[in-house]
């Protein structure tokens, strides 16, 4: 399979051979394997690396003093965790693997050298950052206004679309190595409640979710229940058209 980071950035603009080669080098030079649940960087630490997710699944999270955790973003293969994060003195959140995850942990200087050499990549990186901010806004809307069932439906639609955009879905199925606790921490609901919403979605024939595999049986109905609007994912034209077809009720 191709390099998911290149695949991802090419949603914004086609890269030339030299740019692709430079990105490939970065993603092979600094590979780090993370065990499930292993932390990559902790809140309060000075950010020194730009992390690129090559394989697996990771998350950003914040912890309250009493130990309760809120997951504030999921990373799928191809995602870049903040192209300029080293501008900040200290991390305002932590990043951890959820499943076995392979990342490229690129030192800040190396990353700056890359964009100095290929200024066009700067545009692609801004695009990528702004898309992640748009996803964060949708999450605020999700937690603030949607019911638990709608929240779950929206998150599953989102993750399915994001995985599809990097060619990681197989028909109506995709690997989604999240536990019910992870889902609860991302949606702001209890694990018991997560279990109940998943059962409801299953009983209505919309999805099944077992052994880390999500199957979306009726995407238009799931999207309808969630009031899912893919605009916030800012998919490139071809991908957006494909998604529109998938969401259309037949």
């Amino acid at each position: 399979m191709g390099n998911p980071v290149i695949r991802r950035l090419e949603h914004f603009l086609p890269l030339d051979e030299a740019e692709k080669a430079a990105l490939s080098d970065l993603t092979t030079d600094y590979v780090r394997e993370l065990a499930p649940r292993e932390d990559l960087v902790l809140e309060g630490e000075p950010p020194r690396y730009v992390n690129l997710v090559l394989d697996g699944c990771a998350c950003r999270y914040k912890m309250l003093e009493d130990g309760r955790r809120q997951i504030v973003a999921f990373f799928v293969p191809g995602d870049l965790c903040d192209a300029r994060v080293f501008i900040l003195k200290a991390m305002d959140h932590s990043i951890a693997a959820i499943a076995q995850t392979r990342v490229a942990q690129v030192p800040a200087e190396r990353f700056i050298a890359l964009t100095d050499r290929f200024p066009r990549l700067t545009r692609a990186l801004w695009w990528n950052t702004l898309v992640h901010e748009a996803i964060a806004r949708e999450w605020i809307l999700n937690i603030g206004q949607r019911s638990a069932l709608e929240r779950m439906a929206n998150l599953l639609c989102e993750l399915f679309m994001r995985l599809r955009a990097v060619d990681m879905t197989r028909g109506e199925a995709c690997d989604l190595p999240l536990t019910q606790a992870d889902l609860g921490e991302a949606l702001g609901i209890s694990t018991v409640h997560v279990n109940r919403t998943l059962q409801t979605l299953r009983a209505e024939g919309l999805i099944s979710f077992k052994g880390g595999v999500l199957e979306v049986h009726d995407l238009p109905a799931l999207a309808d229940l969630a009031m899912f609007n893919p605009n916030y994912l800012h998919l490139e034209r071809g991908e957006a058209a494909g998604v529109a077809r998938l969401l259309a009720t037949t």
Partner: protein, 257 residues
């Protein structure tokens, strides 16, 4: 002239005289918009980005059935729709007060991102801070009690307005209605109203007559589990305000939402 943006950027790493001129030269003439006006329309295309020079605004997103979520409040110096440089906007921004704004052509701003490394640095920083605030809001709504959420929001607004020089002692003008606050923290207006009353009776903060009064900073910050690190402001800006000289809350009137 967009002095506020320059101020905002300067706090994040002192612009040179050249860069200051570069931004000021980019913006068109300032215009005034009344409170309640739509500054950025959800889904609307524009070639310009909008700088907020003076006033306050809020960013929001609405579900098809009308449920509205406020995603953040804007203070002077913010670029309201930086996203336009590379994406369509997927949210709206509405003026909370009358606002003075100026348009910067997106093409010029994009050029500056490549040509002016320090300005680019400042805008990256602005975007990182915005993202950090969004994450903090998620933690609030996902994990904190209604009481803590409201206390946290009041702390955040006070510190941010103070960083813009818009506070007066323990007071600041924050003309959100209770409906705005409810939509920002994901509560019903009835619930929000009850929480504001609790914060007032606990003598932590009063929010009335378009004004926020901090009665007990330490108590309010503890109630909201507020730690200003996520705002990435200089340490002196996040430090607690001077203690009030005895409680000065007015009594007898309640805010009309």
């Amino acid at each position: 002239m967009p002095g506020r943006l320059v101020e905002n950027l300067e706090r994040h790493g002192a612009l040179s005289a050249d860069e200051r001129l570069a931004i000021e030269a980019m913006a068109g003439a300032a215009r005034l918009v009344p409170a309640g006006a739509e500054l950025v329309g959800d889904g609307e295309a524009s070639a310009d980005c909008l700088l907020l020079l003076d006033g306050q605004a809020f960013r929001h997103k609405t579900l098809p059935d009308g449920r509205r979520q406020i995603l953040g409040f804007h203070t002077p110096g913010d670029v309201l729709d930086l996203q336009r440089l590379f994406l369509g906007v997927d949210y709206g921004v509405t003026a909370l007060t009358s606002c003075r704004v100026a348009a910067v052509p997106g093409s010029k701003l994009t050029e500056a991102l490549i040509e002016h490394p320090r300005l680019a640095h400042a805008l990256w920083r602005m975007s990182l801070v915005e993202a950090s605030i969004q994450r903090e809001w998620m933690v609030g709504m996902g994990r904190k009690s209604a009481y803590a959420r409201v206390a946290h929001l009041l702390c955040e607004m006070f510190i941010r307005l103070r960083a813009c020089g818009l506070t007066n002692g323990e007071r600041c003008r924050f003309p959100a209605t209770q409906a705005h606050l409810a939509d920002a923290v994901g509560l019903s207006q009835v619930h929000l109203n009850r929480v504001l009353q609790q914060l007032r009776s606990a003598r932590l903060a009063a929010f009335r007559a378009r004004e926020l009064l901090i009665m007990d900073w330490t108590g309010l910050a503890a109630a909201g589990d507020f730690d200003g690190q996520y705002l990435h402001l200089p340490a002196r800006t996040v430090a607690p305000p001077p203690p009030a000289q005895g409680p000065t809350a007015r009594t007898g009137r309640t805010t009309q939402a």
